[in-house]
Each structure stands twice: as C-alpha cells, then as structure tokens.
C-alpha cells in the first residue's frame, strides 16, 4: 500500500536490479532528483551534489545536454553518481544522435550497470547554445523507447542483429500534462507505455488542478497500474528565473496565480517563497491517487532539495528501510 493508500500491483518483472523500481514496487513514495552536469571537464560538482542528496533520494537523473546546451555527458555523470552511492537515471535524447549512436549508448549504459534510463525527444537546438547545430531526430522518443524494449526483450538491434548479451534496464519516459492537446496528453503517455515505458516523470507542476485532471484521465485509462508516475516539481528562485521559465523554456506552464504570489513578496524573500511553494505542491500531489513519487528539478539550486522535501513531509531515505512499508 502506498503512502496515499492505493494498492499498487507489483510488476512481475524486475529490471536491471533497479533500486528505483524496487522502491516503486513496494509502493513507497519514491523521490528522484535532477542533477545537471557541469559545463567543464570536472566531476567535482557532480560528486558534491551526489553527496548532498544521497540520503534524500532513491535515484538521480543526469540530464543529457538539457535545453540543447552543451554539458558533460550524462553517462559520465551517471558513473560518478554510482561511485558516490547514488543510483543513476541516465537521460538520453534523440536530438544529438541517430539510431546507431542511440543503440550504442544504450548498450554502454547497460554494460556499465546504469539500471534506469529516461528516453526523450529533446529540445530543439534553437533553444540552446549552439543554434547553428544540425538537429538529428532520426528517431522520436516513442521510437527510442520501443527500440530499448526491443533490445531488451527481443535481444536484437533495429537491424535485426542479435545482442549477446541483451541489455537490461528500467525504461522511463516524460510527459507534459500542461501542453496542448490537454485532452490527449494521457493517451500520449499510453502510447509511450505501449512502446515500453515503465515509469514516467512529468514536466514541472505549478498548476495542481490541471495535473489532477490529467491524473484522473491516467487512472481512467488504467495507466497508473502499468507505469509508475513521478510528479515533476521544482522551486523558483527569483523573479528573473520565473520570467525566464515562463517566456523562454518550451513547454513550461506557470499560472498567473503563482506569478502574483512570488511578485507579492519582497525581492529578498522570493527564494524562500519559491521553496515553500514547491514543498506545498509536493504535499498536494502526494495525496493524488496514482502518484507514485516525486521528481525534483532544482536547476543550479540542488542545495535546496533537502529542505524542500523535509518541509513537504517526505522522509529522509536513510530513515526508511525497503523491507518495511512506510
């Protein structure tokens, strides 16, 4: 029984010995966080963030040239996380690689025992720091998920060539409940699940009502029984960050109510208010049936994550044991 009292049927298959999957299977409210790798050839920042978050999270995503801005490779960050005792979720997107490179990276991840992968289409280069780059998009996210499942279950590449041994991983996807067509966003997740996704991390939630409506549809379609839904959240640090999010980050929806709330406090208190708001949203989404966990994205502000979780009443992972139900 999960924190919100809903029985989650354990998936019969265990993938890649994933701790994240084990936590979700037991119905314990899971916590993942996003760690952005550095712009530079230095792993120290990843190490520092891993150490800081280790006790608070079940796994951490390492982003893959997020927003089309060059950063250290996701797989490299994932290996550093493993060294620091944090289970990694490797993000992999279709913008920068064709099907040959994507499959090769999937093999590399599985061989190095990176148990979780999050497969995305990727932001267009237009939003990044290399606007003159050639976008690839040889596959889309759904085709990449389908490919990963085929590699795992059929033990074959897209070419039909056999894999010895086949890779194993817990496959994740993303979905944005706030982008049109709102009516069909849950169906779209259904498509990703049909392709092979077993967990989903959502876009930033700032409007709990729209998210709850999407979850209703997810439950109506029975998708929460086949795929663990982790609600995406993140704190807003400043009015400048808020403006940037609202105007320049694709797929971001920040309602006017949030704008008013953060604009209503003195400039030196925006960060504290943003942090409080994030905790409140976690506490709210935690009560929505079918929500299996939370995914905290605090871009360049990972230090805030422990306090956000504590305020939201999400226990330190080190205080819980996997054996008992929490």
């Amino acid at each position: 029984v999960s924190d919100n009292g809903r029985v989650i049927a354990p998936s019969p298959v265990k993938y890649a010995d994933s701790h994240l999957q084990a936590v979700l299977q037991r119905g314990r409210f899971a916590v993942t966080a996003e760690i952005g790798p550095p712009r530079g050839a230095n792993v120290a920042p990843v190490r520092r963030k891993a150490k800081m978050l280790r006790d608070w999270i079940d796994a951490a995503n390492v982003t893959d040239n997020q927003s089309a801005v060059v950063r250290m490779a996701s797989w490299a960050g994932c290996l550093v996380l493993k060294q620091e005792g944090v289970e990694p979720v490797m993000q992999l997107q279709c913008r920068d690689r064709n099907r040959i490179a994507l499959q090769s990276d999937l093999l590399g991840a599985a061989a190095l025992e990176i148990p979780n992968i999050l497969l995305l289409t990727g932001d267009h280069p237009r939003f990044g720091d290399h606007v003159d780059a050639k976008p690839v998009f040889d596959l889309d996210s759904i085709q990449l998920i389908w490919t990963a499942r085929t590699m795992r279950e059929q033990r074959k590449l897209l070419s039909g060539r056999e894999l010895k041994p086949a890779p194993d991983f817990f496959i994740g996807a993303v979905e944005n409940p706030f982008a049109p067509p709102l009516k069909w966003r849950a169906e779209r997740l259904g498509k990703k699940i049909a392709a092979g996704a077993r967990f989903c991390q959502t876009q930033f939630i700032y409007d709990v009502k729209i998210f709850a409506e999407w979850m209703q549809r997810v439950r109506d379609l029975g998708l929460d029984q086949r795929c663990y839904i982790l609600a995406g959240v993140g704190p807003i640090k400043s009015i400048r960050a808020l403006e940037h999010m609202r105007n320049e980050v694709p797929g971001m929806y920040v309602p006017d109510e949030v704008m008013r709330r953060l604009r209503g406090v003195p400039a030196d208190q925006v960060a504290a208010e943003g942090l409080k708001l994030c905790s409140e949203i976690i506490a709210e989404v935690k009560t929505i049936p079918g929500v299996a966990g939370v995914h905290v994205m605090a871009f360049s502000w990972e230090d805030a994550i422990p306090e956000i979780l504590e305020r939201a009443g999400v226990a330190r992972r080190s205080a819980l044991s996997l054996a008992g139900s929490s």
Partner: protein, 165 residues
C-alpha cells in the same frame, strides 16, 4: 481526404501493376514523382519522405514538424497551440488530433509509427505504398484493441532497400 485515399487504396487491383509500370521507366517515374511532389506540397506541405503517414495522421503531415515527430506532439507546444520552434505556426500534431477527433479517427493517433527509412527521401510514396512497402510503417488495426495491448516488438525492416529510381 479520407475518400481520396479510398481511390488510391493499394488493394484496388489496378494500382500494383501501375506502380510496377512506373518503376520500369525512369523518365515516367520521374514525371509521376514530380506530379506527386507538386500536388502534395501544395495540399500538405509534403517533404517527400517517401513513406507517407497522412492516412493515419488525419492528413496533417508529421514531416512538417521541426522535429519530424511521427508519434504525436512534443512537450513544448505553446499554450496557444503554437509550435515551440516556430510559434507562429500551429503544431501539426495538434491539428492532427483535432481533425482526427472531428472525423472519428482518434484511434489512429494510438498507432505506433516505426522509425522511417531514411533512404526513401525523394521517392514517390504512392509507388512505395502500392508496392506494399508501407505495410509495417505503423501498428495495425489488430494492435489498436486498446492501450492495454502491447504491440509487437520492432521487427527488422525487410532487407530490400526500396527501389532506386
């Protein structure tokens, strides 16, 4: 448009022989392909990917999406329905869903579209379709039973490289 597709249905015995005839003569194939290009560019903004998805995308061309997504909209669609890359253009997948809804074809949106064959750019998609090369382009009606259903794994593409005209 759906009606026009009935006319072009490859199960009409006329079409496969026509396709074969077109393939047998380079100049005629070229002429035919340029007519297809002109008409479909005019109607749908066709990019000549050579493996047309229009019959199951409510006649909204997915190759006009800046990411060329074949399986639905990305997460970046603006609240007003504008494309994240070209905000003045309406998201092609949004148009697909809306039109499919009107036409009672929303189930088509559930079909998984397999990766395209990049060798087919510039070829006549009608000829490829009549030759039966599009058979596995998307999951079949049998795979549309419901979202519970897990479709087939991706089978390798048939060895043939398509024709080279």
């Amino acid at each position: 448009m759906y009606r026009l597709h009935h006319v072009l249905d490859r199960h009409i015995p006329l079409w496969p022989p026509v396709a074969k005839a077109l393939l047998s003569s380079k100049p005629i194939y070229k002429l035919f392909t340029s007519i297809e290009r002109k008409s479909k560019q005019e109607l749908f903004g066709c990019r000549m990917c050579g493996q047309c998805a229009l019959p199951v995308t409510a006649y909204s061309c997915p190759m006009t999406c800046p990411k060329q997504l074949r399986n639905g909209p990305c997460g970046g669609v603006n609240p007003d329905g504008g494309c994240e890359v070209y905000p003045d253009q309406r998201c092609v997948w949004l148009m697909a869903y809306e039109r499919a809804d009107e036409e009672g074809k929303v189930a088509d949106m559930r079909r998984l579209q397999r990766p395209i064959d990049q060798r087919k750019w510039g070829q006549s998609s009608w000829v490829n379709y009549w030759m039966g090369e599009d058979e596995t382009l998307w999951t079949s009606d049998a795979d549309l039973q419901g979202l519970e259903h897990e479709p087939l794994l991706l089978e390798p593409r048939q060895a043939k490289s398509g024709h080279s005209a």
